[in-house]
């Protein structure tokens, strides 16, 4: 299991490949399903062009809350492994924001846990986006509720 905040740009697929190489040694033949979510910064939000973004966090609490939600997922589903990475600091459009990957024997629990983790993260992890617009900047006021 790996849960980390990153203060520099990262490549979700390179991180996954590196993590997977180690995981294959431990879990070869056991995982039939990997569900992955990657969140990426868009260049438009609520109708306005977005030129950049700063992700603020609460050092200590953010890591702890991410850890707790992953533990809750392992309590709820028979998971084999999980990887959660989240950016903080200054981002540009197209920069990866978050990577969530879940490994399990079967697909139902991988999908369910991956979805659970992104919804938990969006509603509970102390992270705040400030967007730089063409002129000025603004705090994003709230995340969208969990969609159906």
């Amino acid at each position: 299991m790996r849960i980390e905040l990153r203060d520099q740009p990262f490549s979700p697929l390179a991180e996954l490949a590196e993590y997977q190489a180690e995981l294959e040694q431990r879990l070869s033949g056991q995982y039939g399903a990997t569900a992955i979510f990657i969140g990426t910064m868009r260049d438009i939000n609520e109708g306005a062009a977005v030129r950049g973004m700063t992700l603020e966090h609460y050092p200590g609490m953010t890591e702890r809350q991410l850890q707790r939600m992953v533990e809750a997922a392992f309590q709820e589903w028979p998971l084999l492994d999980a990887l959660v990475l989240h950016r903080v600091g200054a981002l540009q459009p197209n920069d990866p924001i978050v990577l969530i990957a879940v490994w399990s024997a079967h697909r139902a629990e991988a999908f369910a846990a991956c979805r659970f983790l992104i919804e938990e993260l969006k509603s509970k992890a102390p992270l705040w986006k400030r967007e730089t617009l063409t002129s000025g900047s603004r705090w994003v006021e709230h995340n969208t509720a969990a969609p159906d």
């Binding site: 609490m61 702890r64 924001i97 969006k122 102390p126 992270l127 705040w128 705090w139």
Partner: protein, 77 residues
């Protein structure tokens, strides 16, 4: 008792500072910490509260040395 108070994101910007140090008598709740520091400003709606890095209700009692945080709805992911 000494309470360490932190503010984040838009709430910090609005207050103009990242935190406060509060010297208070025992028996204070999270809501009481806010009221002691901001007697003229009610807690903004939807403000989230934490004690020692875990979410906490406004009614939770705080103790000597606690870190109490107030922040707006989170927007990560």
């Amino acid at each position: 008792m000494a309470i360490h108070v932190k503010y984040f994101a838009s709430l910090r910007d609005r207050l103009g500072r990242a935190g406060d140090e509060l010297e208070a008598s025992a028996g204070l709740t999270v809501a009481g910490v806010w009221a002691a520091l901001h007697p003229d400003a009610p807690l903004p709606p939807n403000t989230l509260t934490a004690v020692n890095l875990d979410y906490a209700e406004l009614t939770q009692a705080v103790r000597e040395g606690d870190e109490v945080a107030f922040f707006p709805p989170v927007t990560g992911g």
